[in-house]
Structure formats: C-alpha cells, structure tokens
C-alpha cells in the first residue's frame, strides 16, 4: 500500500514522468494560489473517478465480469475508454453540483477548475493505468488519491518556482514557455531522485 503511494507520488509522478495533464500544468501555474486550488480539485476528482472507474471496470467491463449471467467469455474491456470518459464527465458534474449545494465556499474556490479537469489527461490516464496495472478497487482508491496528490505537489512546486523567476533576466527566446519546459525537466529529475524512497 505504501509502495503504491510513494511510487505514484514521486518516481512515477503522473505529471513529471508520464507527461499527463501537462497542458493544464503549464497553463495554470502562474500563481501559487491558483495552482493550489487546481491541485486540490485534481486530488478530489482523481480519487473519486479512479475508484468509480475501477468499480465499473470490475463489475461490467473486465473479461469474465458477466459470468454470473452465463456469459463468461464476454470481454467488454475495449469499451473502457469511452466508459471512463463518460464517468469522468458525470463525476465532475456531480461533484460540482454537490459542492455548490453543500460547500459553497469550496465551490467558489474550485468551481472554475472543475470543467478544465474533465479533459485533463492525468485524470483519464489515472484510470487507464488502473486497468493496465490490474489494481483491485481498494488499491485503485489509494492509487487515485496518491497520483492526484503527486500531481498537486508538482504543480504547486512548479508555480512557486515560476513566481520566483518572473523577474529574472533570461535570454529573450527562453522567456515564458521555453524556461517553463526546462524547469519542469529539472523538477522531473528531482522527483525521480525520490525513487529510492519507495523501497
């Protein structure tokens, strides 16, 4: 359990080693407070969707999932992609409504990020990894939380660095996007150095 956590947060960080959700990662990391909000939203949605998708996958899509109905050879796993997308969109919508109804403060803080998350590769990628790595539902929940946590950690660290270098005097062509990529590369190296911590 702890090895799932540590590898998902550090050595196999979704953003830094698998390049997932990088579009959002680069676009919404100008300021630490926005990055923080987005990070929290990703943790919440990732935990919910990976668990829900694991449940749907094991109950409906996995090879042999229909054997109770006398269809042991039915393999619907090719539908996983489209099912996951639908579930993610639905989960984001539901989370948004629940937050709006019961936690309006949180909704104001996270609301603007939720639609962005529906098409975030990190969220879909998390669910696809869950299938590929054959996690059980319990492991999937832990993986969902920890991969979301890793992503949040990465974007907050990245935003903090960018705030510091905003006024640095860099070569003209390197301003903005160029330096952002180089910094992400260094960050990725740093996170990979934690590989040993996973044991």
């Amino acid at each position: 359990m702890t090895d799932i956590f540590f590898t998902a947060v550090f050595s196999e960080n979704l953003a830094l080693s698998f390049f997932l959700g990088i579009c959002t990662f680069l676009a919404v990391s100008q300021r630490v407070d926005t990055a923080f909000g987005l990070g929290i939203a990703v943790i919440v949605i990732q935990t919910i969707t990976v668990t829900a998708n694991a449940f749907v996958y094991h109950a409906l899509l996995a090879p042999g999932a229909w054997s109770w109905a006398g269809l042991p050879d039915l393999d619907l796993s090719y539908l996983a992609l489209i099912a996951f997308i639908g579930i993610i969109a639905a989960m984001v919508q539901i989370t948004e409504m629940v937050l709006d109804r019961y936690l309006p403060v949180l909704h104001r803080a996270l609301g603007i990020f939720l639609p962005l998350i529906t098409v975030n590769c990190a969220i879909l990628g998390g669910s696809l990894f869950m299938v590929e790595r054959e996690y059980t539902i319990g492991e999937a929940a832990i993986f969902g939380f920890s991969s979301g946590f890793g992503w949040a950690l990465a974007i907050i660290a990245f935003a903090a660095i960018r705030e510091r270098i905003r006024y640095s005097d860099m070569p003209n062509g390197l301003n903005g996007l160029g330096s952002a990529f180089l910094i992400t590369g260094l960050l990725s190296l740093g996170f990979a150095a934690f590989a040993g911590a996973a044991g």
Binding site: T7, S11, Y78, I82, F129, E132, R133, A192, A195
Partner: protein, 266 residues
C-alpha cells in the same frame, strides 16, 4: 414530394433546440459509434489473438535458442522439441496421462476446482491463487535429465509478469530466464525484458548446498553467485522478479518437484 408540405418538417430540418432533435442526434451518434467500435473490435479480435499466440511461441523459441546447444540436443534426441509433463505441485509427482496441450494458466488459477489458494504469509509472488497442477518442459537424453523448464508468474510493479526459468541438470544452476509477458513501466521496469538483463541470470545458483533458496536480486554490485543486479530505477519490478523466482522454487511452488527430481535423478 407533394405530400411533404403537409407533414411536420423533416427530422434534419428541425431546429437544433428542439428536444426531439437533441434526443434523436444523441441516440443516433451513440448507435453509430457503438456499432463502429464493436464492429471493429469483433472483426480485429482474431488477428489480435493470433498476435498474442505468435508472441508467446516466439518467446518460447527464443528460450530454446538462448540455451547454448539446446536446439542441437533436442534435434539429436529426435524429439520434436521439449517434452511437456503435467506436475502436481503439492506432491511433486508427474500426473500420468494429463492433457497439457492448451493449458490455460489463468483459467486454471481462477477455477475453483483446480486452483489452490496461496496462504498470505507465503504468497511472495502476490498471486493469491495458483493452479494445483502445472505443465513443465523437460529435455532428456538417453534417460538423463538435461534441462528442466519451469513456468512462473509473479506480480511486478504494475502487471503480472510471466516467465520461464530453465535449470540445468544439477537443478540449481540457471540455464536461462526468459520474461514472456509483462506490462511494467516502459523504459524502467520493462527493461526486465532486455536480453542483457535476462543474460545476467545465466549461471547463477538458485539454492545453497542444503537446498535453501538463496537467489535474490540486489541493488547494484551483485557479488556472489546467488545475486543478480537489479534494474536501477525499477526496484519494485526487480524485486517482483526475485520474489517470483523465490516463490516458484520454494516449497509452495516447484520445491517438492525439484526435490523429487534430485532424489530420483529424474
């Protein structure tokens, strides 16, 4: 044509805000897409399965090629390859007359009749269950055992690794290890499939003189004949392979079988 004037406007001509059209479009998109996807999958599945089967065969052939002289030995012995015998893991005995062709490991490991639950404290390979009988490959010449090829499964970092290990006639020297299937992290754990890493197992000793399993994967600087270097950056996968080997050679795996072969000299 003349009559159409008196009917309601055609479906496509309706306003895009008309609920009937919204539903109609949604359903027809869903239907078309599901037909397309299911059709493509059904049509392509035989080709994909043939690919998987061909891959498994190619790796088995690679295994035969990897052991120096094995192909010659098989050719000399006149057998059409390896002899395959079903082994009962708990007793270590061959199961006479058991059908080995078409053995499906996954089906056998999940079927209630023929699977054995692995006790949690002994489940090094983290498999939970295993078949109670598994076919092994044996190469003999003139009644003398030359090689025994043991299939193995074990959980790596993110996938179940499937492998075969060939032991020489002393039943402790590794003749070859081949990873047959894995889906570990590309570039890291997946490097267990590289010929270089698999070659680093050749000649290692799996057990000490008293029969205890000693083989292990270590992080950098393998020094004894019981140690194999792990893959840097893929500790979990490397350890997964080590645990797999240790489980299957141990007394809940092929231990009794190996013990019997050693006692009987084949």
């Amino acid at each position: 044509m003349q009559e159409r004037k008196y009917q309601s406007p055609g479906f496509l001509a309706r306003s895009n805000d008309d609920p009937a059209k919204v539903f109609g479009v949604a359903i027809s998109v869903a239907l078309t897409c599901s037909l397309l996807v299911s059709g493509a999958t059904a049509y392509l599945r035989p080709v994909q399965e043939a690919n998987l089967a061909a891959e498994r065969e190619a790796r088995m052939a690679a295994m035969v090629d990897a052991v120096p002289g094995l192909r010659d030995i098989i050719a000399e012995s006149g057998a059409d390859g390896l002899e395959t015998r079903m082994v009962d893991l708990s007793t270590g005995q061959f199961v006479p007359g058991a059908e080995t062709a078409g053995f499906d490991y996954d089906a056998a490991a999940s079927s209630e009749d023929i699977a054995t639950t692995i006790p949690g404290d002994r489940d090094l390979a983290r498999l939970r269950t295993r078949p109670s009988q598994i076919p092994v490959n044996i190469v003999e010449k003139d009644g003398e055992l030359l090689l025994v090829v043991l299939p193995m499964r074990g959980r790596g970092y993110q996938s179940v690794i499937s492998a075969v290990m060939a032991l020489e006639s002393d039943l402790t020297t590794v003749a070859a290890l081949r990873i047959l299937e894995q889906a570990e992290t590309a570039g890291l754990g997946a490097r267990i499939e590289t010929p270089e890493w698999q070659a680093s197992w050749v000649g290692k000793q799996v057990a000490g003189t008293d029969g205890t399993i000693m083989i292990d994967v270590v992080r950098g600087g393998a020094s004894t004949s019981f140690e194999v270097d792990g893959i840097s950056g893929a500790t979990v996968t490397s350890q997964g392979v080590a645990n797999m080997v240790r489980y299957w050679l141990g007394d809940h795996g092929f231990g009794p079988f190996i013990e019997r072969l050693r006692a009987e000299g084949g």
